[in-house]
């Protein structure tokens, strides 16, 4: 059962994507570690970390695409799950500092010493163990999503109402984490990490490994998403997106389906956050900002909603553009980025991947003029009806 479930995920396109991803996962660290710095093909560590960050963003975008692209749930709060995963990892990394903090306190992180806390808050217990932290990376976002989704989907909150309360959720968390009394370092967040699983986070090898881990996580989550969307459950999700009440009258408990993908998606976002933190070296409440969630949605839209691969491409592309613009035209990059969003919406309504595959499908249909085999082909899907 499991094998057929996974096997379904791997058609030609998916295999192509995974192959490319594998190549990158292998090549980038290799070019970074094995070649001398002056070699023309050497990839600087800077680029490795940067691309590692893109990969975690891509995973976040993937998780957004799963709920939005396939189930029509527009989350404007996915950054919350990303940040919670990040905080779980950040807490582990903080506990690893041990006596190497500036105050040398063996138990308390610096910011607690500094604000005269004398005991470690209970919710920090256990985070010195990696397995526990890793579990929390999945559980905290997952549980929050489950509880939130349980109420929201049961009450049939949908469309913009749902979008806005997800935004309220992340905004409330933003404000809460800003509070120093919460014990998460307030605005400064968690920083100054030393090592992860015993390896120095600053070392080139660790960075390369984290990059590879991000790539592998992305690949695995991609396969899971793919398996989900190509199963009958995936068809039900699309059915929910296109005609929710029809699905209900067919006897499907829409809220259970929504809850299922919503929770899975939140956990994926949590994983992305957990991989993000050691690579950028900081987690702070700014990650909860509603604008971040909106950006994640934009990556998906740019790449192509409901295509999975598109989400990945969109995330990498937009963030690459951002990196490039902020250095190349620091004063005007917002014009370029804003312009890009407007352009994509107006001229590529299906996103990059949607548009490309559409044209591809048109060409090939003209060439062969044969029916495609049954099964879902994202290419010929009409523009989904949003907000439903």
């Amino acid at each position: 059962m499991m094998t057929s479930f996974l096997f379904r995920a791997l058609d030609k396109n998916a295999a192509l994507f995974l192959g490319l991803l594998t190549a990158i996962i292998v090549a980038v660290p290799a070019l970074n570690l094995l070649l001398p710095p002056d070699h023309p093909l050497h990839v600087p560590t800077y680029a490795v970390t940067l691309m590692g960050k893109y990969l975690t963003y891509a995973l976040l975008a993937l998780s957004v695409d799963l709920v939005w692209g396939y189930c029509g749930i527009l989350s404007l709060g996915h950054a919350a799950f990303f940040a919670l995963g990040g905080y779980a990892m950040g807490m582990y990394l903080m506990r690893q500092i041990g006596t190497r903090g500036v105050y040398g306190d063996p138990l308390l992180p610096d910011f607690m010493v500094f604000l005269n806390w004398d005991t470690l808050p209970w919710y920090w217990y256990g985070f010195d163990m990696f397995w526990f932290a890793a579990l929390m990376v999945l559980l905290v976002p997952g549980l929050l999503a489950f509880i939130f989704g349980w109420f929201a989907f049961r009450s049939r909150v949908s469309g913009v109402y749902l979008s806005i309360i997800t935004q309220a959720l992340t905004y409330a968390l933003l404000l809460a984490f800003f509070r120093n009394d919460m014990g998460f370092g307030g605005n400064n967040g968690l920083t100054d990490f030393k090592d992860i699983l015993g390896f120095d986070v600053q070392a080139d090898t660790t960075r390369a490994a984290l990059f590879a881990a991000s790539g592998i996580a992305l690949g695995l989550c991609f396969i899971i998403c793919r398996a989900i969307t190509r199963s009958k459950l995936g068809k039900v999700l699309v059915a929910v997106r296109d005609a929710e009440s029809r699905t209900r009258f067919l006897g499907y408990r829409v809220e259970h389906y929504k809850l299922f993908v919503w929770t899975i998606s939140a956990m994926m976002a949590g994983i992305a956050g957990a991989l993000y933190v050691p690579q950028v070296g900081i987690i702070n409440p700014g990650e909860f900002a509603p604008a971040n969630s909106i950006e994640a949605v934009i990556w998906v839209a740019v790449g192509g909603r409901g295509t999975l691969v598109g989400a990945v491409i969109g995330a990498v592309l937009v963030n690459f553009a951002k990196t490039w613009f902020t250095a190349a035209f620091p004063e005007f990059w917002l014009f370029a980025l804003g312009g890009l969003f407007v352009f994509v919406t107006l001229f590529l309504p299906k996103g990059i991947v949607g548009t490309v595959t559409d044209n591809w499908a048109k060409v090939s249909r003209r060439k062969h003029a044969v029916d495609e085999r049954p099964g879902d082909t994202p290419s010929t899907r009409p523009a989904p009806n949003p907000a439903e």
Binding site: Y161, A301, P386
Partner: protein, 539 residues
């Protein structure tokens, strides 16, 4: 403060006989004394103030006023003191005694005679004594207020004298309070002090409480219980007023939310465009106000008090036109794809922010309050600031105006027709593209005039819009999308709830609690406060 006391006495004597004919010829003799002001530190200045006052010469008044305003300068080369007015890199100088122009000097060649809060208090009290019997009641009131704050036993005589002639009840009350406050600091007998306590208790406000609690440690014998009862009574009254004040704060916050959200209630609520650029429309309105005020400042300073009235239509037009441009250029291609409007308008919002940053710079711009929006008035024991009050009034007027437009004009009828059934409306000959553009323009224009109002209480910076966008969406969704009354009630509810939570939970937690409240509320009523019911909803 012995100097202060002598200063007061002298000034009182000076004014009361209303005879200072001999003053003019002596002015020149004051010059060395005034030049002495440039001596050194604050204590020297205070000392010199005493000396100046001791001359008993009203010729010092302009110099005193200039000193209080920080406009008194000494020339570095020869130490001569002038009243200076900044003009670019130079000061325009005025003689402090003759008030004749005295040329100009480079700024770096002049030294300012420094004044601090302590000195300002001394001067305030001195000038207060001078004006205790001025013809204008408002000036007398201010003078009495200065006396009240000074709490100087030396002022009792002057106050007694002023009270014999005072007819205005408002001013009388203040003078009596000032006298009572001064009495408590004096060595008058217990009976007199008890009377003063009673006067202050009758006054019953925060200032009285402040004076009484300052007196309590010094009180003796029967004064102690009397003071304590008086304080307890005042406390009780103030607590009751405190609740009323909270409601007012809530309404005031609600009106700000309403203003911020009401344009969005059109573009998002009525038209279904998830308009992330809404905040930037508010920002445009605020910047229009800034530009209008700048132009007025440079070309017609006299019109400053009318600047907001001029800014309103301009802000409406500017934001409205930008809105129409966005609708024609982008949004019209996206009808039926509301979530994609989110993407595009987010892009527009980035562009608009950066545009404003490029044009006006990233820093805050100064938008002043006209006189009629500055200050506060007392309602019972509540202080109501004019700007908040006018914003409440203004927000309700905007709301009423909008309702009128939508319900009573053909344009409103068309708008409702188009938003309810576009195809039907089109087939009935309504030019739907025009209506779309105008409706979006209307929503944006309303956001623009909201910006005019918000410029009065908040930063005018490129980030202005970002600060309101989330709250605006919350309000519209909480109230129920597509229902203007919902927006009104939603804004007011959230405002009041927030303000009632704030004293207990603190500002941060209050905001978090309000957000959680919204999340839970939406569970209960998935379509907001004023949801439409019936089978049409899900169609």
């Amino acid at each position: 403060m012995p100097y202060l006391k002598s200063l007061l006495v002298v000034l009182c004597l000076l004014i009361l006989p209303a005879g200072s004919a001999h003053a003019q010829e002596d002015t020149e003799s004051l010059r060395p004394l005034i030049n002495e002001l440039a001596g050194g530190g604050f204590s020297e200045t205070e000392q010199q103030l005493g000396v100046l006052a001791a001359t008993g010469n009203p010729g010092v008044v302009p110099a005193l006023e200039a000193l209080a305003d920080g406009d008194l300068y000494a020339r570095k080369s020869d130490g001569v003191v002038f009243i200076g007015e900044r003009d670019g890199r130079v000061y325009k100088l005025t003689d402090p005694l003759t008030l004749e122009p005295a040329g100009e000097e480079r700024r770096r060649d002049m030294k300012k005679i420094k004044v601090n809060n302590g000195l300002r208090r001394v001067i305030r009290t001195a000038l207060g004594t001078l004006t205790l019997m001025a013809p204008d009641p408002a000036t007398r009131l201010a003078a009495a207020d200065a006396m009240f704050k000074a709490q100087d036993p030396g002022s009792i005589e002057a106050l007694d004298l002023a009270l014999t002639q005072e007819t205005e009840p408002r001013v009388r009350r203040k003078m009596e309070a000032a006298r009572a406050a001064a009495v408590l600091k004096s060595d008058k007998p217990e009976a007199v002090k008890l009377g003063a306590i009673a006067t202050l208790e009758a006054l019953g406000n925060r200032d009285a409480l402040s004076v009484l609690s300052g007196f309590l440690p010094e009180a003796q014998g029967a004064e102690v219980p009397a003071t304590e009862t008086a304080m307890a009574r005042i406390d009780k009254t103030l607590a009751a007023w405190g609740a009323a004040e909270n409601v007012w704060y809530g309404i005031s916050l609600g009106s700000v939310l309403l203003l911020a959200a009401i344009g969005l209630a059109i573009t998002f609520g009525v038209m279904g465009v998830i308009n992330m650029a809404h905040g930037e429309m508010v920002m445009i309105g605020a910047y229009v106000t800034f530009v209008v005020q700048e132009i007025i400042r440079t070309s017609a300073p006299g019109l400053f008090n009318y600047s907001l009235f001029m800014a309103l239509p301009l802000a409406f037009l500017t934001a409205g036109l930008v809105g129409i441009a966005i609708e024609r250029g982008i949004i019209r291609f996206l009808y039926g794809r509301p979530l994609e409007t989110l993407l595009a308008t987010w892009g527009v919002s980035l562009i608009l922010q950066q545009a404003v940053r490029s044009i006006f710079g990233p820093t805050n711009q100064e938008v002043g309050n006209p006189d009629w929006m500055s200050g506060a008035f007392e309602l019972g024991q509540m202080t109501i600031t004019y700007n908040r009050m006018w914003i409440v009034v203004f927000s309700l007027l905007v709301f009423a105006g909008l309702m009128l437009v939508l319900k009573k004009t053909p344009f409103g009828l068309y708008t409702r027709a188009v938003t309810q059934n576009r195809r039907m409306a089109a087939s009935m000959g309504i030019r739907t593209p025009w209506i779309d553009a105008l409706t979006f323009g209307l929503g944006s224009g309303i956001a623009g005039i909201a910006g005019v109002a918000l410029s009065q209480i908040d930063n005018v910076s490129p980030n202005l819009g970002q600060g309101y966008i989330i709250d605006s969406f919350m309000v519209v969704v909480f109230g129920g999308v597509g229902n203007l009354w919902g927006t009104l009630v939603g804004a007011m509810t959230l405002g009041v709830v927030n303000k009632f939570l704030e004293p207990y939970a603190g500002a941060v937690l209050a905001k978090i609690l309000v957000l959680i409240f919204i999340i839970l509320f939406i569970q209960k009523r998935p379509r907001g406060l004023f949801a439409l019911k019936g089978r049409a909803v899900d169609a």
